[in-house]
Amino acid sequence: MKQYLYIEMDNCIGCRSCLAACTQCGGHDQRNRNYVYDVNPLVDRQTIPLMCLHCVNPACARSCPAQAIQITAEGAVLSALVEKCIGCQNCTIACPYGIPKFDEAQNLMYKCDLCYDRTKEGIPPMCASVCPTNTLQWVTEDELSMKKEQHRLGKWMSSREPFDPLEGETNVKISLPGILQGKQKLF
């Protein structure tokens, strides 16, 4: 059964649990691969988590000269294969969201791999399993379509129109903050 990482942006309280949990994933080497950003830092405390959105047509992989970035059958865009990555950093320049990180000493790119050791078994990724406010959720297709239904199908999701918050289709699904929806949202 295909499951998705789903981001309910409204809910984020900026606790950074997702960053801490990311460091604990197998193979992540104690370093986090995701971000939490202040939306309007001098005005309010709204934060939004940002992680690899696992594009269906990932620019990072398309720009990699060494074919080091593999895409799994489930749609997860994996971190660079260590034996293939040649350290050119094309992927960091190509990614529309600025996600891949680069370790100069190891000459290696590393990025969110959707905790592939967990998600391929249907276990939520580290970030989603610790999120205290349900900002990050690991949902089934049915649950996703229910959420879409709640949001009046597509209007406030990452659909192309009228707002187009993403560059192309992604395997991570998002729900935009309520500010854009023009109404209060309860979680």
Partner: protein, 346 residues
């Protein structure tokens, strides 16, 4: 000249095989010292070369690979090339930074294989052989020239004749370390597959074990079974050679690309840095930013924003903040505040 050949592949194959043939002719003193027992390896090498060119040319045609390859080759004579080459291809310094275990494993595997190749192929092509003019002394002949005289029971001779035994132990050690890591490491366990990750290790292990078995047969069984084991060993080496360009082991011939990539980054970084279209900090060379935009365009990916910039023209923090603005409608990237702490260690 190009019209003489049906394809790039045909041209490269013809030139390489001809070159190898000429080198064999000179190196083996006009074909007088070809070891016919190693004939199978020679044919295997020719097939390997065909496979390698097929794979390499197909791969080098991809837009990003082509860019780094052509630009990197032009910069090959940079002053930093010898040092970069040594760090990337000899000492594996970058793997050291990934951990001592992986470095040790890789040195054993990598240098075990490279040294084995350096011993095997000169023997196969007749570039190196031993003659005995004087009783008790071997003359080492390299490329038709008498290089040195060594005592037949001396330490040098021991190392020469046992070189492949020593490298076999290195490879076995490396394979064992790699297998242990693949059984224990959680990320490796999640991503690995039998054919991609384990098969090359088992092939190397099989080659090393059958190679050692040859020595065992000679010393302890007075040569019993040697003719059979030598064919099995030869078969395993040839299979591995032919498979090499198509699986995980392809990273061996492709690895020099990392030197080209480093040169490319260093050279164009010195020329001009690209200033982020939002905050103005230089984050990558102008050339690379331009190249990535071109490569993405060839893949039908356009990240041209209505604000007037391409996303590859923003530094990474600004690109992430710009995404916030697309999510929330607040121009986060225009707020002149350093990004908040993104380090989970607090």
């Amino acid at each position: 000249m190009d019209r003489a050949f049906a394809s790039k592949f045909a041209k490269m194959m013809f030139l390489t095989i001809s070159g190898l043939f000429i080198l064999m002719f000179i190196g083996s003193r006009f074909f007088t010292h070809i070891d016919m027992a190693l004939y199978g390896y020679m044919v295997g090498t020719f097939v390997f070369i065909a496979g390698f060119f097929y794979r390499f040319i197909a791969w080098a045609e991809r837009p990003p690979a082509k860019l780094i390859l052509t630009k990197g080759l032009k910069l090959l004579l940079r002053r930093s090339t010898p040092q970069t080459t040594a760090e990337h291809l000899v000492t594996y310094q970058f793997i050291w930074h990934r951990g001592w275990y992986r470095w040790t494993q890789h040195v054993l595997l990598g240098w075990g294989c490279i040294l084995s190749a350096l011993v095997t192929f000169p023997l196969v092509f007749g570039w190196m052989y031993f003659t005995m003019d004087e009783n008790g002394y071997y003359t080492v002949v390299g490329f038709g020239l008498d290089l040195m005289k060594i005592q037949a029971d001396g330490i040098l001779a021991f190392l020469f004749f046992n070189a492949l035994n020593i490298t076999a132990f290195m490879v076995i050690g490396g394979v064992c370390m790699a297998l242990y890591r693949r059984l224990k490491d959680m990320q490796a366990r999640a991503e690995q597959s039998f054919v991609y990750d384990f098969l090359p290790l088992y092939l190397l292990l099989f080659i090393s074990l059958t190679g050692l078995l040859l020595t065992f047969n000679n010393i302890f069984l007075h040569g019993f079974g040697h003719p059979v084991v030598t064919v099995i060993h030869q078969w395993s080496v040839i299979i591995t050679l032919i498979y090499l360009p198509f699986g995980k082991l392809a990273h061996i011939p492709f690895r020099p690309m990392s030197v080209l990539a480093r040169n490319y980054r260093e050279h164009y970084g010195e020329q001009a840095m690209k200033a982020c279209k939002v905050c103005g900090t230089g984050f990558v060379s102008e050339e690379q930013s331009k190249d990535v935009i071109a490569v993405l365009k060839q893949n039908d990916i356009e990240f041209q924003m209505k604000e007037g910039f391409h996303l590859a023209e923003l530094c990474l923090p600004c690109r992430r903040k710009y995404r916030m603005s697309r999510f929330a409608g607040v121009a986060t990237h225009q707020v002149k505040v350093k990004e908040a702490n993104q380090n989970a260690k607090g």
